[in-house]
């Protein structure tokens, strides 16, 4: 396996260069073992397409999404202003991230605090790379004809109305895309948003991720695709709760594409 090529914004600056995009890795993408695999898969795609991208590395800090949704507006704005100071210092114009929560916050909540960037979800950026011919998908991959269902992340779908881009990518892989009964704007949440990821759920009769996994299982998929590190964790746990981890994988779209490329 080839070595990942990752450069920080500081390194670009030292060279007096400006990368095409800033890849916002996010807290989950940096620290969570499962999410790190998504980060690496996306970087492999960026490397393959010869994209000049920078990361903030140790200068990146949590976007504040979780804090804001937990009600801690102070902490959110402190995080936002700290990040904005750094992003503006590097004169960042374009940001791409594999986390819909970072995507939503950077795109919608940073502008009024002084952070104005063009922000894209990694699926949007991958699509762009394909359209410009920089990245090609081999359709005769091992994924061909496999049943895959896509779980809409709330902060990509309802929150920002990006429903078709991830689906288009899946179709390009030649897979059999099957929809859950609740999809797109009526998609059920995985249960992680609004800071739920980090706390025990309130008393109820079921866990949300289990209910959502049941939605997915009804489509009898061999793979559940997502576009969010938190959804990924929740759905993976759901599949385990249903004891289906032997037959069903939960994968990010970036991973599916990287695998199909043999990366």
């Amino acid at each position: 396996m080839s070595q990942l090529i990752v450069k920080t914004m500081a390194e670009y600056m030292a060279e007096g260069k400006q990368p095409e995009i800033l890849f916002w890795v996010g807290s989950a993408g940096s620290y969570d073992d499962r999410a790190k695999k998504i980060t690496k898969a996306f970087v492999k795609l960026l490397n393959k397409a010869h994209v000049e991208f920078g990361v903030l590395g140790t200068e990146e800090s949590n976007t504040g999404d979780v804090a804001k949704r937990a009600g801690n507006e102070f902490l959110f704005q402190m995080q936002a202003m700290t990040n904005i100071e750094i992003l503006n210092a590097y004169e960042v114009k374009r940001i791409v991230t594999a986390c819909p929560h970072s995507y939503n916050t950077l795109k919608n909540e940073y502008p009024s605090l002084g952070g104005n960037y063009q922000v894209q979800h990694h699926t949007e950026y991958i699509q762009e790379l394909m359209q410009s011919g920089r990245l090609k998908i081999e359709s005769n991959s091992e994924l061909h004809g496999k049943r895959i269902t896509f779980h809409d992340p709330c902060y990509l779908g309802r929150a920002n109305e990006v429903y078709e881009v991830p689906r288009n990518l899946l179709k390009k892989l030649g897979v059999e895309l099957v929809e859950m009964k609740r999809n797109r704007r009526t998609a059920l949440c995985c249960g992680a948003g609004g800071a739920q990821m980090f706390k025990e759920p309130e008393k109820g009769d079921k866990d949300i991720n289990v209910l959502r996994t049941e939605d997915a299982l009804e489509t009898q998929p061999s793979i559940i695709a997502t576009g969010c590190p938190y959804c990924n964790t929740m759905m993976t746990d759901g599949v385990k709760a249903k004891e289906k981890e032997g037959s069903i994988q939960v994968l990010d779209i970036a991973e599916l594409i990287a695998n199909a490329q043999g990366l």
């Binding site: 920080t8 804001k68 937990a70 801690n72 309802r158």
Partner: protein, 433 residues
């Protein structure tokens, strides 16, 4: 000539409209108890939203059965108002079917009203069956007992009776039946009254006419006390609703000021507040008066259909949270505050209650995943999520009362810029693993 019926009519009409106007004033006063909120952006999108969502019922029909039936009742409501206009003019001037000079067009109008009346009657009966016989889940949730449950049925009974009265009125109007045009439905009902003397028939017609218009006036005044206000408020509500992406939550300006001050190296941390400076605002909401007027308008607009709750992941998995209940609680508390103000000569007298805890529990607030399913589902653009968020803000920033696990992750974010207790210097370690 005998002017008594005319005078009586004008008095009834005056009372009916006057009392309604008084309650509308109260409604506006209550909504204005909320904070200001800027709704001046993107006017053209706002008009589009109102035309599509309220006028065009675009979100209603996403659920085809209820949507279709609702469109019929809605059309009936709008179109039959032309008939009400005639009734009002007739009532004031003692005329009879003043619009009948329109001839063929009049027959066409009345004919379509009659058909609509039957369709509305059928739709309303189906609604009643869905609620009371099929017992659709969303109509039988925990918050749908007592008044909310009865209110829904009263509205349906009202509409059934009004439609029947309209048809009976036409059927027993011998002059109208003799014209024999436009009586597409009432012509079939008229034979039921064969053998009645002319004066009895006239008596029934007059009674139906009076009951019909009085019923409409009573219904109009019932609105304020009912969830049925949506027939009016859906229009302003869809107009004023946010036109931003659903994921965008507002940034509190009061917080921005403080954070900027904290991050300003030149700020004097010990400076006394400047003279005349207003004390820092309360962060978040613990009562209805901490919310903004749009959130309060939302609460009055809610017609308790429960589409939000039926799509809420927390509610679907048995948690206490129900977005519909958030709206109902907000409205009920606002009404309580309004009554308090009325009873105390325009001043709110502390009543030891608030929206938080007395109406909405913390357990409900913390069960939300902020997924926006409720906001997306609402056919009239109500946003329960914004209220939940403002109340969480109060809990966290004014009371430091977040669940313990959340306090931990917030401390982590503060200390090392991630929800987990990892060193920020390790953020790039994934490249080497």
């Amino acid at each position: 000539m005998n002017y008594i019926p005319n005078i009586l009519f004008v008095i009834v009409l005056g009372i009916g409209i006057g009392y309604f106007a008084k309650n509308v004033k109260k409604l506006i006063r209550n909504i204005k108890l909320g904070h200001t909120v800027d709704v001046s952006d993107n006017r053209s999108q706002r008009w589009k939203n109102m035309i599509n969502i309220a006028l065009g019922q675009s979100k209603m029909v996403r659920r085809p059965v209820a949507g279709f039936l609702h469109v019929i009742v809605y059309l009936g409501f709008i179109i039959i108002n032309i008939e009400v206009l005639e009734i009002v003019i007739d009532g004031i001037f003692g005329t009879h079917r003043i619009f009948s000079f329109l001839g063929g067009f009049y027959s066409f109008l009345i004919g379509s009203f009659e058909i609509l009346a039957v369709l509305v009657l059928v739709s309303v009966i189906v609604f009643w069956i869905r609620r009371n016989v099929i017992k659709l889940k969303r109509f039988w949730k925990a918050e749908m007992t007592a008044w909310p449950k009865n209110d829904a049925n009263y509205i349906l009974y009202f509409e059934m009776v009004l439609m029947c009265l309209f048809l009976i009125m036409n059927a027993t109007d011998s002059h109208f039946q003799e014209m024999n045009s436009g009586n597409v439905i009432s012509g079939m009902i008229a034979p039921w009254f064969d053998g009645f003397s002319a004066s009895t028939l006239h008596g029934i017609e007059r009674t139906a006419w009076w009951l019909h218009i009085m019923g409409i006036l009573v219904f109009l005044n019932y609105l304020y006390f009912s969830k049925h206000l949506h027939i009016l408020l859906a229009f302003p509500n869809t107009f004023f609703a946010s036109v931003k992406p659903k994921g965008q939550f507002n940034n509190l300006e009061a917080v921005t000021k403080e954070v900027k001050l904290m991050m300003d190296p030149n700020a004097d941390p010990f400076a006394a507040p400047a003279e005349g400076e207003t004390p820092p605002a309360k962060f978040g909401a613990s009562d209805v008066t901490d919310l903004n007027w749009l959130q309060l308008l939302n609460a009055y607009t809610c017609t308790e259909c429960g589409r939000c709750t039926s799509e809420c992941p927390a509610n679907l998995t048995g948690k206490k949270l129900s977005p519909r209940k958030i709206m109902m609680d907000t409205r009920d508390r606002l009404e309580e505050v309004g009554k308090n103000i009325d009873a105390n000569k325009g001043e709110f007298k502390e009543d030891g209650k608030q929206l938080l805890d007395n109406y909405i529990t913390r357990e409900e607030l913390w069960a939300c995943t902020t997924c926006n399913a409720c906001v997306e589902a609402c056919p009239v653009s109500i946003n329960p999520l914004s209220i939940i968020l403002d109340m969480r803000r109060y809990l966290v920033m004014e009371q430091s009362a977040a669940p313990m696990e959340l306090n931990n992750i917030m401390t982590n974010i503060e200390n090392n810029g991630a929800p987990w207790p990892y060193n920020q210097m390790d953020r790039l370690n994934w490249t080497k693993e």
